[in-house]
Symmetry: C2
Subunit: 94 residues, 2 copies
């Protein structure tokens, strides 16, 4: 199992716009092969921080997601609303 | 539900030592009231990065965890092996 944490700090006031865009991305991604979970979170202390936490069955499934129509169409638009982003790909220890 | 992502960048070669210390912390924390999940992950691209991803039923359960005997005893020792740390507390959007 592969875990992905994609954290974005958004330009002031832009996180709500990003959340609206994420709606379609979340729905379509959850239907993809190998997607175990794909959920968006908002920081309780800083509303400008949105983080996607993902679980994929394999690296291959994650790679296929990154070239999907909905990913390549929606993610660059969301990215334009961010001040900075940080992405980590993990394997479980325990 | 409260989600916590606690990411640590460890001093070179110290992550394995931290993993050993996390073993007891993970076992005891999973027995705590309100702990839905508590798992340790290692970055596949940078072995010096370890991240704990947690799910708690409420903020009160998370606060009780932070004053538990195992947390206050083990976490400072793990913290001493880190170069830097980053903690975010989240609520789910979707």
């Amino acid at each position: 199992m592969i875990k992905v944490v994609a954290k974005g700090i958004y330009l002031e006031g832009k996180a709500d716009e990003a959340i609206t865009m994420y709606d379609e991305l979340v729905k379509k991604t959850r239907e993809e092969k190998g997607c175990i979970s794909y959920s968006l979170f908002r920081d309780v202390n800083n509303p400008d921080i949105l983080t996607m936490i993902e679980e994929w069955e394999s690296v291959e499934d994650l790679e296929a997601h990154k070239i999907s129509e909905h990913f390549t169409r929606i993610v660059p638009k969301i990215g334009a609303l961010r001040k900075s982003a940080e992405l980590n790909v993990y394997k479980m220890v325990y």
